[in-house]
Amino acid sequence: MITLKKLFSHTVLTFALSAAALGVIGCGGVNLDNQPKYKPLAASRFFANGQSSRPLVEGTVPRGSFTTDSLLITGKVNGKLADLFPFPVTEQVLERGQDRFNTFCSPCHGRLANGEGMVVRRGFPQPPSFQTDSVRAMPAGFFFDVITNGFGRMYSYAPSVPVRDRWAIVAYIRALQLSENVAVKDLPEAEQHQLLGKAQ
């Protein structure tokens, strides 16, 4: 039978042990707020450049995305820039292209690709307009190549724009070039009326 005295001493013992255990945990440096692990981009004193994540070895290809489709990854067929798209251009592709163009290209090239972006107004060298005959005559592969490898003072956008998005941007540039150079007679009838109505 448990006497009152025994119960009391058990209780005291339990408390003492718990307190000791808590003390050990507390002093042992187990800290759940800042656990000893690296989160993305965390700093590390171990490596010379101070980064915990190691740079990829040059030429690394993500698993499952290896391809020999030269048109898709270089914009070239038989070593020459091609005026072809590696996959069908659908409305979805165009919408993606619009979103990516407005995010990554319009700051300099302008929303209409006329070379009058906001950053140019602050002193960045002005890129040529895409609405001239000479740029319009460039093959699709040329635009892909510029995004991938850069061009003169323009840096490569390969680090922030994945391959399929680059093609989506090219498709959207083509749409912009078309939209700025449409003959009135090629518009749908309703829009022709609207436009001519405004002009009169």
Binding site: Q35, L41, G50, Q51, N102, T103, M118, R153, Y155, P159
Partner: protein, 218 residues
């Protein structure tokens, strides 16, 4: 014999009980206020950064989209802080002699990354994921405030558990169309309650699951 206690002592002792209660309550109230204040949580306090990078300049004045720099925000748990390379896409040509940008140029030359000080930092026992919030129509502004008006980055919200749960219990109050997540000046429609419920359904938001402890503590 003179009285040990003056008759006034009763009044003093009674008064002191009241005073003790008042003092204790104010201490507790003050302590909770301090605990919740910006002073301890770091809310609304700008941090000293290696470069005084201004979101107001780059987002509001230059019209850059968040995704130009925070490229992984819609694809990954981590929003991503831009590498020095991203700054150099512009600063290789403009403000090339500004002393404020010297650390950027040094970092680009030496390949040593810039060390930004974190402004938002959840405890490591909490799991957070950007992409699901972005893809289910929660705008940056809802959680980070008017970033386009911040000359220096600061934290708009406490990031306390209660703050997360408040939305997880009723996401229809905050949800917006997916196309508007980067918009800093989105205005909620007058019928947000009905519209929000519709979006919650359309985007198949798992309202029943996101209040489980294991959603955030895994």
């Amino acid at each position: 014999m003179a009285q040990l206690f003056h008759p006034r002592s009763t009044v003093i002792s009674k008064a002191s009980i009241v005073i003790v209660i008042i003092v204790l309550t104010s201490v507790i109230v003050a302590a909770t206020e301090i605990y919740r204040s910006g002073y301890t949580t770091g809310q609304n306090v700008a941090r000293e950064q290696p470069i005084p990078f201004s979101h107001k300049h780059h987002v509001n004045d230059e019209g850059l989209s968040c995704a130009y720099c925070h490229t992984s925000v819609d694809k990954s748990s981590f929003a991503g802080i831009p590498p020095t390379y991203t700054c150099m896409t512009c600063h290789s040509q403009i403000w090339t002699t500004s002393p404020m940008l010297q650390p950027v140029r040094d970092s680009y030359q030496t390949q040593k990354p810039l060390e930004w000080i974190r402004v938002h930092d959840l405890p490591d026992f909490v799991y957070f994921n950007h992409s699901i919030h972005i893809n289910k129509g929660i705008g940056c502004e809802t959680c980070h405030g008017r970033v386009d008006q911040m000359p220096l980055m600061r934290r708009q919200n406490t990031l306390f558990m209660a703050w997360c749960i408040d939305c997880h219990r009723a996401p229809e109050k905050y949800i917006r169309p997916r196309s508007e997540v980067f918009n800093m000046t989105y205005e909620y429609p007058k019928n947000q309650e009905a519209f929000g419920k519709k979006l919650v359904k359309e985007y198949n938001v798992q309202v029943n699951r996101i209040t489980d402890c294991s959603t955030c503590h895994r």
